[in-house]
């Protein structure tokens, strides 16, 4: 019940296109949903995060959409750029826990 399922495993998008990565969870107690971006050989860095009191959060070209009833959340990258090529991880946790539960990651490649 602590799992977070992420798809797709890999994604190829043309420059200027929209990249969409999806995550699903089972634990209804989860109340914090961050996305992390990881470049090769580097540690992951927080990209954007959402709490379930809102259905969407936008920061620049990055948007999280959250569907509480479906227990799903997704990351949209608008106007995708080659510099966005990286691995993206979704994660989730519940208030009071000491650790995040991560998805398995999506390797995004944006072709010029």
């Amino acid at each position: 019940q602590q799992q977070v399922k992420q798809s797709p495993q890999s994604l190829i998008v043309q420059k200027g296109g929209i990249s969409i990565i999806n995550c699903a969870y089972e634990n209804t107690a989860f109340d914090y949903f961050p996305w992390y971006q990881q470049f090769p050989g580097k540690g992951p860095a927080l990209l954007i995060a959402i709490r379930p009191d809102v259905s969407e959060k936008k920061e620049g070209r990055f948007t999280i959409s959250f569907n509480k009833s479906a227990k799903q959340f997704s990351l949209h990258i608008m106007d995708s750029q080659p510099g966005d090529s990286a691995t993206y991880f979704c994660a989730a946790t519940e208030t009071g826990r000491r650790a995040l539960t991560f998805g398995s990651g999506t390797r995004l490649q944006v072709q010029p």
């Binding site: 050989g41 580097k42 540690g43 009071g96 000491r98 650790a99 998805g103 398995s104 390797r107």
Partner: protein, 113 residues
């Protein structure tokens, strides 16, 4: 501002040799500290976390151990490395209390031959 350091950056060790990876955090007090392992092309596996000096929680039984001898120091160790211990080891920290944003270090690439 807070900074997290890991060393060494890369390490090649023979099977059966010991291991010691170090992580330190600057600019904060009493952080929660975490060790993750990332196999090639895979997700993040939480190995250990610590909420204070000498307090270690293990998430996965394995060949590794962790220690926290000082408030901002977290060490990952092994007495005898296995081939399956190869991977990218990441240390992370969060402010004290329930977890929110985690901040990751630069990682250590370990290859066991």
């Amino acid at each position: 501002s807070q900074t997290i350091h890991q060393w060494p950056a890369t390490l090649v060790q023979p099977v059966g040799s010991p291991l010691s990876l170090e992580c330190t955090v600057e600019g904060t007090s009493n952080p929660n500290l975490y060790w993750y392992r990332q196999a090639a092309g895979r997700g993040l596996q939480l190995l250990f976390y610590s909420v204070g000096i000498g307090q270690i929680s293990s998430e996965v039984p394995q060949n590794l151990s962790a220690s926290r001898p000082q408030d901002r120091q977290f060490i990952l160790s092994s007495k005898k490395l296995l081939l399956s211990d190869s991977g990218f080891y990441l240390c992370a920290w969060t402010p004290p209390g329930p977890v929110d944003t985690q901040y990751f270090g630069p990682g250590t690439r370990l290859t066991v031959l």
